[in-house]
């Protein structure tokens, strides 16, 4: 069954009929599995990965280390929620090591990100300190490599 999701993860537009052939299962069964996964949240969403730089539009991104004070009963969850609810926050994680939360923030320009940090994030009561790293260049995201040299066909057209 995992194979169905592996295929969808690679190509969200693969049709149930195509997947059924690939995994050797009836189309109905594949449809049922996908429907169920969509309902129970195994499949969260179908998205496209866009290289915005190709359209001359690229967001500024920053990785922010956040040190926070955990709270009785809820640990980091409550403060994490306060933070990840902001639409500027693209990803948020609790991490081990010298700081507590790692968050990825997106903005249209540097100003937008710095005002998010100074006006919204840093003033939060339980936030002790922040360190902001602006991302300078994207090489790979979600397993996809950006700005690959134009795919050259390295194979000869016919080989024995």
């Amino acid at each position: 069954m995992n194979e169905i999701f592996e295929i969808l993860e690679q190509n969200a537009r693969a049709t149930p009929a195509q997947i059924a052939t690939m995994v050797n299962k009836p189309v109905r069964e594949v449809e049922k599995i996908i429907k169920k996964a969509e309902k129970d949240g195994t499949i969260l969403k179908y998205k496209a990965i866009i290289d915005w730089s190709k359209l001359g539009k690229e967001d500024i991104q920053a990785l922010i280390e956040v040190r926070v004070t955990p709270q009785r009963d809820v640990g980091f969850d409550a403060i994490a929620e306060r933070i990840y609810q902001f639409p500027e926050v693209y990803s948020a994680y609790v991490v081990s090591g010298t700081y507590d939360l790692a968050i990825l923030v997106k903005g249209r320009n540097m100003h937008e990100i710095s005002s998010f940090v100074t006006e919204k994030l840093a003033p939060l009561e339980r936030v002790q300190s922040t360190v902001t790293h602006f991302l300078l260049k994207r090489y790979k995201e979600n397993g996809e490599i950006f700005q690959l040299p134009k795919e050259t066909n390295r194979r000869l057209p016919i080989t024995p």
């Binding site: 194979e3 295929i7 190509n11 195509q18 052939t21 690939m22 995994v23 050797n24 390295r154 194979r155 000869l156 057209p157 016919i158 080989t159 024995p160």
Partner: protein, 400 residues
């Protein structure tokens, strides 16, 4: 009037040995020239993985260069690599080879094949091969001074060579049987029952079995039969294989031969005077492939299997009957219903629909009526190619 030019040509031709001069060029070569003249082709005629060698294996090759491993290795190959291979063959197929005396590292399986044929053949010795088969089999036998004896195989038997058909062609000159399963070009695998009949035959007539198992890892839902692992067969089998298909390492040129000591010694004699040793960097990469490359092989096989199912199903849907290929990465559909022969079909398909397939006749006379289609290409390529083939056969249906 005597033609001076042709006399000169004849004289020149004499510089080339008669054996080579009369050796027909590969049927694939002929098609290559035609193919090169057409642009934007979807090619199902490439007999190699579309994956790049997994990064950790490439990185091991780079690292070996950084460390300055740029000298010859021993003729037989780096001891660690031979040891890893011995472990691998023992663990996977239960056949144990002494890493020092029974394994030789070669520059691809092709070198191994050439070595074994040159090591065993006396002039006019006969070597039995299936028809159709990999293009190099008959050519290498001829180059070694032997005579290829073709045993027809057909779709009724899923293109598996049959012991009874072999036996009918055994003569006093027969030296060896050369087979390769899973098979190029058909995708056929060797069933246990037939394998047992073949080994009985080899024993009965005291023949050597040369088993080309380069596609051993690419089987789908069936277990690969490793000939030397069958009872009493280790000492009369020369196993040739390599990393090209399993680890997507075609361009590295790395393979091996495993056999009884007397054969390995004979092969090593030729190898030491010709290749000396397989490329050092490549051997280092192969060690990494054996140590940490198993999961890469599994995921590539899983991907090939998805494509295989798609191609097999589509061919049967569009009316080109195809037996289910259970190994390698080829489908071998019959195109007889179109009324064309293999070459006409492949040529017209290429010119009209820009899809390249290899005419079955490139692999032997019994390939007539079939074409080889490789599914080591993206799913979208396979789908588009099959759409075009469907259009092509609908347009070219023979008039009743």
């Amino acid at each position: 009037m005597p033609n001076r030019e042709s006399t000169t040509n004849d004289a020149r031709n004499n510089l080339i040995s008669q054996k080579v001069a009369t050796l027909p060029p590969s049927g694939i070569r002929k098609f290559f020239d035609l193919l090169s003249s057409v642009e934007d082709v979807i090619s199902l005629s490439i007999g190699e993985p579309d994956f790049v060698t997994p990064w950790h294996i490439r990185e091991a090759g780079i690292y070996s260069l950084e460390k300055g491993y740029t000298m010859y290795t021993s003729n037989s190959g780096i001891p660690e690599l031979r040891q890893e291979l011995a472990n691998y063959l023992e663990l996977r197929y239960g056949v144990s080879y002494h890493p020092e005396h029974e394994i030789l590292i070669t520059a691809g399986t092709s070198e191994g094949l050439d070595l074994v044929l040159r090591a065993i053949i006396n002039p006019r010795d006969e070597v039995i091969i299936p028809d159709p088969c990999y293009v190099a089999y008959p050519a290498d036998i001829i180059l070694a001074g032997g005579v290829p004896v073709l045993v027809p195989t057909n779709e009724e038997n899923d293109f598996v060579i049959r012991a009874t058909d072999i036996e009918a062609r055994i003569t006093k000159q027969t030296k060896a049987i050369l087979i390769g399963y899973p098979a190029n070009p058909t995708g056929a695998i060797m069933p246990k029952k037939e394998a047992n009949a073949i080994i009985e035959l080899a024993k009965k007539h005291d023949l050597l079995l040369i088993s080309d198992e380069i596609y051993a890892r690419l089987t789908y839902g069936v277990e690969h039969i490793c000939f030397p692992s069958l009872p009493g067969m280790k000492k009369r089998t020369v196993l040739i294989s390599g990393f090209s298909k399993s680890h997507a390492m075609t361009g590295w040129r790395i393979g091996y031969v495993a056999s009884d000591r007397r054969f390995i010694e004979a092969l090593t004699k030729i190898h030491q005077y010709t290749l000396l040793c397989a490329s050092t960097m490549t051997q280092m990469a192969a060690i990494e492939a054996l140590r940490n490359g198993d999961s890469d092989v599994d995921s590539m096989v899983q991907e090939y299997n998805r494509r295989r199912r798609l191609m097999f199903k589509k061919f049967n849907e569009i009316g080109l009957p195809c037996f289910e290929p259970k190994g390698a990465f080829y489908a071998f559909p019959s195109i007889k219903a179109t009324g064309m022969n293999s070459e006409q079909f492949a040529e017209s398909l290429l010119l009209e629909e820009k899809v390249a397939v290899v005419p079955g006749t490139a692999f032997g006379p019994c390939g007539e009526g079939f074409v080889r289609c490789c599914y080591a290409t993206s799913l979208s390529n396979i789908e588009e190619a099959l759409r075009r083939i469907d259009r092509f056969i609908k347009r070219n249906q023979p008039t009743k």
